[in-house]
Amino acid sequence: MNDGAAAPGATDAGEGSLESAGRGESEDRETDSVAKLSLHGITRRYGRETVLDQVSLDVPAGGTLVLFGPSGAGKTVLLRVVAGVVEADAGEVLIDGRDQHGIEPEKRGIGMAFQNFALFPHLSAFENIATPLHSRRGEGATRAERRDTRTESVERVARLLKIDHVLRQSPGALSNGQKQRTSLARALVAEPELLLLDDPLRNVDAKLRFEMRLELPRLLADQGTTVVYVTQDYKEAMALGDRIAVLVAGRVEQIGSPEDIYLRPATKRIATLFGDPPINLLDVDPECDADGPYVTLSGRRYPLDPALAVAVGRQCTLGVRPEALRFGDASEPGAIPVTVEAETPLNEKVVDLVTTVRGREILVSRPAHLSGPASGEAHLVVPMERALLFERASGERIRPRGGSPGSPDTDAGGAR
């Protein structure tokens, strides 16, 4: 659960760095006995396209892992591999430590909810939800008793999801929100130990999506299920996941807590995917002088964290989030003159598009109750302690070496 409070010293296998995505065997073996779901080197090709490339990850029992990535990244295919409806070309799927190779989907004890709901159109909502219960030998000796148990289970989960009043209707008569909850109810009713949710909020209207984003984590935590949740919405990912696995073009680029991903992204691309408005990326060339390493922005000298001295002489990109930038006075040290091109008032914040003297576009955001320049000339101040530095060519983030306590990269766990 992402409780907003920074988890002190949390280190687990596969946190926050590219290398650990495929980290050493021994560490994985250790966690195998604890992990509810383990994927090792899953690869899947369609024709000449490699849709999944050596994907490995673990999900501890009762935890929620979010699979995040842009469309086409392979997230849905991965879920289907775990469910067993699609076969991987290479790699293993382990549930409770047991290799699932050759085990049919109906025997894996999984609940699954789909992006476009996948409700059975010729059955009522009640019958849809009851489907997983028919295959299990329920309690009760007689058919009538078994039927009653089924009815009870369906009504219980329907009440939980607030769709108990539409159970007799057929899917065609339900609204998108009700369809989504019916789909979820069907996945939950048999109380599966492993739940796969494929972007269930995608086709639901904004207001309901927000409501579910608040309700779902609680619902899932109460059930104690292990969950793999797929989404393209970074806010959903941060709200729902204990850990997030970022999947791009079939490869896991980073696995970590929401904090890791947002504050310590492994690459430029991940930094851009998380955050709205997206992070500003400015090409810089760090240099060094008597006072230490620095970068030049619009002719002004901005000192760099000494731990990033290794970047001097390399072509880099500086990443600064819009909410970190602020407007300041011309007299402040390092104040950059900019022109405000357009202002977008959103509800809780205001976003400005500004251009520097040399025409670089920068997005700045601030809470709505703070005032700022609506147009014309202004000055921008860049807080270097919140800036990230990336290698320009590869896009990888440059990590501070032996950083001082309090800098974004160290946690109580110490060096990686």
Binding site: R80, A83, G84, V85, E104, P105, E106, K107, R108, I110, G111, M112, F114, Q115, N116, A118, L119, F120, P121, H122, T131, P132, H134, S135, R136, R186, A190
Partner: protein
């Protein structure tokens, strides 16, 4: 759209002309079936006549009383053959074709498209092309003039239809729905029975109807491969062309009885036919 009265009148006229053009022969034949031979051959033809049921009676009782004597007509036997052959052929085609269509739709194995197309191409081939070899084979293996042999050959007509139409319907079912059923704890066979088939039912019904109509109307296979006792109505109608003259009245009555079942089925299942013909192409 607002149309001027002139446009509407012209439209009405055009429609009437087209309808008359297509429906006239059928209308004429229905009239003929209620007339005696003499009335039919009267020149000029007139609509003023006393209707008679003699033709129908003759067909049903199997005895034609005419000037030349009493003739035995096997028409009812032919009608029964038509029913037997068509129904059995379609039934067999469904049993073979529906699972095959599912396989083609869901399992894209290497060469599946080629095999499917080859099966469809059987419909393109002119029947006469295969008839001579078929006749020889059938005689050799003793299938000539048997119901089994005919039903088997009729698969050439029915199976491709079932395959292609029903495959389209299976393809239109989102795979996710089937995955959902599998993951809920059911085997692929249960999913096929409880999900795939019910959802493809309109397509299956349409394909079955079309296959029935084509099988019923088939002439050439039955003509060559069956002899008198196994012939369906399409061939049986030829019997009315006798040495002593053409019994137009009976032919007309025979035709009316022949087309009645398929016409009735088509009218009743009109909706399904149009759906099936568009191969479920429009996605909702």
């Amino acid at each position: 759209m607002r149309r001027s009265p002139i446009e509407r009148a012209l439209r009405g006229v055009a429609l009437t002309v087209v309808v008359v053009f297509f429906m006239f022969p059928i209308l004429w034949i229905v009239l003929m079936s209620f007339q005696t031979n003499e009335t039919i051959l009267r020149m000029p033809p007139s609509l003023d006549f006393t209707p008679t049921l003699a033709n129908y009676k003759a067909l049903i009782t199997g005895k034609l009383v005419s000037n030349a004597g009493t003739l035995d007509i096997a028409f009812m036997g032919n009608l029964w053959n038509s029913v037997l052959l068509s129904v059995s052929s379609v039934a067999l085609a469904l049993i073979l074709g529906v699972p095959a269509a599912y396989a083609f739709a869901r399992h894209k194995f290497r060469g599946s498209e080629d095999i499917a197309f080859t099966l469809l191409s059987f419909k393109f081939a002119p029947p006469l092309l295969v008839l001579l070899p078929l006749t020889l084979y059938f005689q050799k293996i003793g299938l000539a003039n048997t119901y089994v042999g005919l039903i088997w050959v009729y698969q050439l007509i029915c199976l491709p239809l079932i395959l292609w139409i029903v495959r389209g319907y299976f393809e239109d079912i989102s795979p996710d729905i089937e995955y959902a059923h599998r993951v809920s704890g059911h085997s692929w066979w249960s999913t096929f029975r409880k999900i795939a088939i019910p959802l493809a039912r309109p397509g299956i019904a349409a394909a079955a109807l079309l296959a029935f109509i084509f099988a019923w109307n088939n002439f050439v296979f039955a003509l060559v491969l069956a002899s008198a006792d196994k012939q369906p109505v399409t061939v049986g109608a030829l019997a009315f062309v006798t040495a002593s003259g053409i019994q137009y009245g009976q032919i007309a009555a025979a035709i009316v009885l022949s087309i009645a079942p398929t016409l009735a089925l088509a009218l009743v299942a009109q909706r399904y036919l149009v759906e099936g013909l568009s191969l479920g192409a429009v996605k909702g």
